[in-house]
Amino acid sequence: MPAHERLTAAITAANKHNRPALVPFITAGYPEPGEFVNTLREIAQVGDVVEVGVPFSDPMADGMTIQRSSFAALQNGVSLKWIFSELEMAGDLHTPLVIMSYLNPLLAFGYETLARRARATGVCAFIVPDLPFEECDELRIALEAEGLGLIQLVTPATPKERLKMLCEASRGFVYAVTVTGITGGDTGLPNDLADYLDAVSSASPIPVCAGFGIRDAADVANVGEHAAGAIVGSALVEVLESGEDPRPFLQALGGK
């Protein structure tokens, strides 16, 4: 089975236990590069899927928290090469991984090598926030050759026909951006979220995970009624930043 189907299976398994899948996101190597593998193992015990962020110099879709974690990680020498060697060291985490990266670090790495190394290290799919569908063929084909998926993002601004096209093109899951804005917003989830997520879920042949602005158990429960999973990024990065154990925080959100 192609690696991206592991994602679908993990999310569906969580849903069978009557809970939304929990997808924690961390910026690789933040706050301490030396703690990356440990942190990964800890959150993989609770998360159904783990999303690893590759730091980038120009994170234009991200709010203050992920900007801060990205710049600090870069200063500590974190790179995609380093991330793959750490993932190799970590061995099998028994939880499927997704890599979130802006396009340029992937371009610089080279798509074919990228797909091979990703597959060898348990990565099942990629999320690329500055790569719209119209520009994605080259990367998508290189990933597919190794059974990996390219996860498409949809947003409240996405028109209906486009929504259907993106959902059908996505592999692993569909990433439904909850807000018209950047990551880590503190304005709360929008009031019409339920309608939007219902529309995405009904357009999508694969599970839908909601992300952006999901900060606590109430948010997870809220999106969980209309989507198969919840992605928690900035709020988790803030927990790690404060030096706390991420497990109790994630368990309170309802992980496995």
Binding site: S57, M60, A61, Q67, T180
Partner: protein
């Protein structure tokens, strides 16, 4: 990284560029350009592209735009012969005087054009980024002119070195927002403006200031700035009696350079773009993107960028805030790859010396950005004596006084040297 295209492809792309066939329908200039933006902005870019198609070459829009250029911007700007500089350099020097355009630089051509477009598209407010502050001032003025509220994102470092322009923007009614993230210069200001745009893609019009970014901006900005080259070409024939042998323009993002060069691509004129050489050739010491960069995706386009082996975009250095940028317009990347335009660098010190020489010989205080073009034109003239050259004098230097004040001894030094 120069001329990486095979010769036959390069010549086919150059032909297409000269015939006005680029960008193609995917926003590509050969391999460069495209649209790499977050999904939230895709519908906004599609609306913008449709608006550009509908209005930019529409007779009503053009009438209004041309009237604003004539009556409000003060076009055509003069073509000035520089007799004393010509004598000193041993070549015939002509200056296209964009410094005489309203608000003091070529930026206003684009700003008023896009402000008129924003109005047509029903935008509720305008955001803009600025480096040297010239585009911020131009946007503030243009938005006041058409009656739209305007917010300008500006790096904290640039706010300090271009303080007079910050005050000008505020007086023109714009809100100026300090960007404290990233490199705190132009690149960070663009990132922050994009983050703002994502929050309200249908109400906000993003008035991008250079021929950079995702399609259709590089095309839109080129079309609005081409008035520079169209006028200069006619004026050279009329005043100098012939086209120049060579034309020079400074290149940061590259809007004044593409405006000057584009109408001359099919002429027998050597075209030279001058980037910021900063303090040296090492990564981080300059902003010479075309001279020393590699291809990658930055802020919406596949173009030449300054990056490390991991694809991380590098910080730049230039004494001029307007050239201090790690990327460059995708059309310039193609013009370099085809060999039609040569891109070189001039350093901080050479730019300062050139600025002083122009003050001294012609009574023109040019912008620090523009001074880079003079610095290289001078060097070129030593190697190619008795030619006729055209320099795009893209802006005035008043806004550089805080920086120039830090170099008070230079005029005395150069006078005694």
């Amino acid at each position: 990284m120069k001329s990486q295209l095979p010769a036959d492809e390069a010549s086919a792309f150059l032909d297409a560029a000269i015939k006005g066939e680029l960008p193609d329908e995917r926003g590509r200039f050969g391999p460069f350009g495209g649209r790499y933006v977050p999904e939230t902005l895709v519908p906004a870019f599609e609306r913008l592209e449709q608006g550009v198609r509908e209005y930019l070459h529409d007779a009503d829009f053009q009438r209004e735009f041309q009237r604003e250029l004539r009556e409000w911007v003060g076009r055509p700007t003069a073509l000035t012969f520089a007799p004393r500089l010509s004598e000193r350099w041993g070549t015939e020097v002509w200056l296209k005087r964009e410094d005489l355009a309203h608000t003091g630089a070529h930026k206003i051509n684009n700003a008023i054009g896009q402000a008129l477009l924003a109005k047509r598209l029903g935008a509720q407010r305008v955001i803009a980024e600025t480096g040297a502050g010239q585009h911020g001032v131009a946007s503030a003025a243009a938005c006041a002119r058409v009656g739209l509220p305007c917010s300008v994102y500006m790096g904290a470092v640039d706010m300090e070195r271009q303080a007079p322009n910050v005050d000008r923007m505020r007086r023109l009614g714009a809100e100026v927002i300090a960007v404290e993230t990233g490199d705190k210069t132009l690149r960070a200001a663009i990132d922050e403006a994009m983050r703002k745009w994502v929050t309200d893609p249908s109400g906000i019009y993003y008035l991008l200031g250079s021929a950079v970014g995702a399609h259709p901006y590089p095309y839109l900005v080129r079309e609005l700035q081409s008035v520079i080259g169209v006028e200069a070409r006619e004026q050279m024939i009329e005043q100098a009696g012939a086209l120049p042998d060579a034309a020079f323009a400074c290149v940061g993002g590259g809007s004044n350079a593409i405006g000057l060069f584009y109408p001359m691509l099919g002429d027998d004129i050597e075209l030279i773009g001058v980037e910021a050489g900063g303090t040296g050739e090492g990564l981080g010491q300059n902003a010479a993107t075309l001279a020393t960069g590699t291809p990658g995706v930055l802020q919406g386009a596949y173009t030449m960028i300054l990056q490390n082996d991991d694809g991380q975009v590098q910080e730049t250095h230039s004494i001029s805030a307007g050239l201090d940028y790690s990327g460059v317009g995708p059309e310039h990347a193609l013009l370099q790859a085809t060999g039609r335009v040569r891109y070189v660098a001039a350093g901080d010190d050479d730019a300062l010396a050139a600025l002083e020489e122009l003050c001294e010989t012609e009574g023109i205080l040019t912008a620090l950005e523009t001074a880079h073009a003079f610095a290289y034109a001078r060097r070129w003239s030593q190697e190619n004596p008795r030619k006729r050259i055209l320099i795009g004098n893209s802006g005035r230097g008043d806004k550089d006084m805080p920086t120039l004040t830090k170099h008070p001894a230079r005029i005395r030094t150069s006078a005694s040297a």
